[in-house]
Amino acid sequence: MSVLDPAVALPLGIHLNFFTDTGFWTGVGVLAGIYALIALGLQLNVGFTGMTNFGAAGFMAVGAYSMAILVLKVGLSFWLSLPLAMLVAIGFGLLVGLPSLRLRADYFAIATLAMAETVRIIAQNADSLTGGNQGLFCAEGGAGACYNDAWTGVSTTIEGWLQDLGWVNPESLVPLLLVVWVFVLGATLGLRFIQSSPWGRVLRAVREDEDAAEALGKHTLVHKLQSLAISAAIGAFAGFFLALDLATIHPEDFEPLVTFFAFGVLVLGGLASYWGVLIGAVLFWVIIEGTRFIGLGLDETQIAALRFFLVGVTLILLMVFRPQGMFGKREEMVLGE
């Protein structure tokens, strides 16, 4: 038996097809890209504005559900629904922010978490609007229009381009992978650009000491709201991509766990580093999804448990030994606290 035979197990029970299952890794890449997007928004809020925003899953849910509802129930085109859904998410972000921005860090975290959970409960219970626990996928009857029809068209087009370029048989998720990461790169460059501006400087001042910034004539509330709004918009797109990836929208996909995982990505990459987020996201998901290949006879729920355990332990170890993450600066952690 050669070592490439799937039945042969390496130490820890990892099988070698770990490295060769391209369909699987494409999926991981998409997830990493989606979480990179969420964490980019978080970086703006937490790393640069000092707002511990725990409502990320809520932004995603509002974005995804709004888009699907606009397409399926209101009958708008996919391309029109996207920007509208993004506006709804921004509106939600402002709604969340306005009353709670003056709260201190852990209270703000709780408030934003509670609002995200409220969105999820509404999604779970308002059956007629959101499909309840069944989720949203296609219009009533199952055979009607699906919200990702427009996407399927785009996806096929991209596949065509790839084949023209010589890629013989791309996995079905490759177009999504490409689009997501183009988005991630665009968002990273965009965020870095605005971060280096005087506007970004005010944000950092808000992070350091809001009273000092106010005393120098800066209207801190407006800046914080803008930070939240941008994060909500990016989160909405993360929601859209998740909806396309899973081909369904379920309340369970927007549990607090998503936000916690995003924070894991954030601190792994390091606070106050946008590029760090990208690397953190890829590393995070490679490790997490890599657990699937551990063939120690564990069942599904146990592997899922292992995953949570890994994330939890990583968070703790990072916070204890290297709070600045991979690419953050030590001074940034030490001087601030």
Binding site: S100, A111, A114, I121, F263, T301, A304, F308, F309, M319
Partner: protein
Amino acid sequence: MEARSLTLGVEESPWRRLRDAADRRPALAALIVLGAVLLVMIVAKGVHDVAQSSVNGLSLGAIYALGAIGLTLVYGILKLVNFAHGDFLTFGAYMAYLVNVTWGLPLVIAIPFAMATTAALGVAFEVVLWRPMRNRHAGLLQLLLTSIGLALVIRSVVQYFWSTDIRLLDVDTTTTVNFLGLLIGRMQLIVIGIGFVVIIAIGLMLRRTLLGKRMRALADDLDLAETAGVDTSRVIIYTWVFAGALAGLAGVLDASVTSLSPNFGFDLLLPIFAAVILGGIGDAYGSLAGGLLLGIVTEWSTLYIDSKWKIAVGFVALIAALIVRPQGIFGKAKAI
């Protein structure tokens, strides 16, 4: 030059006077409002329905109160709300499951076991994690993320060994008791009984014993207590013992009237936060009152809205409390 006693713009309107009075006697004000609501509801829905849902409210409230008091005591030590607290409830419930179902012993043994093991867990984390981080002057964000990591770790261990299947404790949930014309589940009555006995015991302990006073002092202001010469490291350990034991108890009680799953403790966390904040953070009695209040209001809400929305009541209460009065009903207006 004569002193001018001009106090423009500070006319005492009757509304303002009412608010000031409520500020001074918040407990009384809350009771009056509660009583008024109760009366309105009895008129609207009838005594029977209101009484039934009030009983449910007391059992839920007892669970919230037991969870909340641990959280608020620990807040004084950590200086932040512990996101892992909900998973202490989960852990306690599963420890009870181990004793009650797996080993087949009665609940009377399962409960102390659950309380003891959860207390031990709390102390272990304090020694291994929280104390070293405090000594290193870890910041708020660091501690916050650590508590989340801890929550995930506890939950994952539970899930690893007991999977995501919904489990039930080996208790009699079908027998009902006829109490003043109401049909109340026997188990629910036991929960209310145990809950209230413990709450009263805790309340007395906090007021009468030296340890209790010290715990309350710590919860209110750790640094001040330290300068006052209190041996904080010992009191901190005791506080974790209490917080852990009460959380474990709350978990078992909840599990005995509903069910167990790895997530259930975390699901209770937000309402417990609400109870803590309503009662005023760091205020032990406040959290007891806040928990009971929240439990009752949550159950009363089912008289008006579909019970699937019940959980949302806790969230809405939390958000409202944070926005309108973050120092809680009973708290002083501290800067939040």
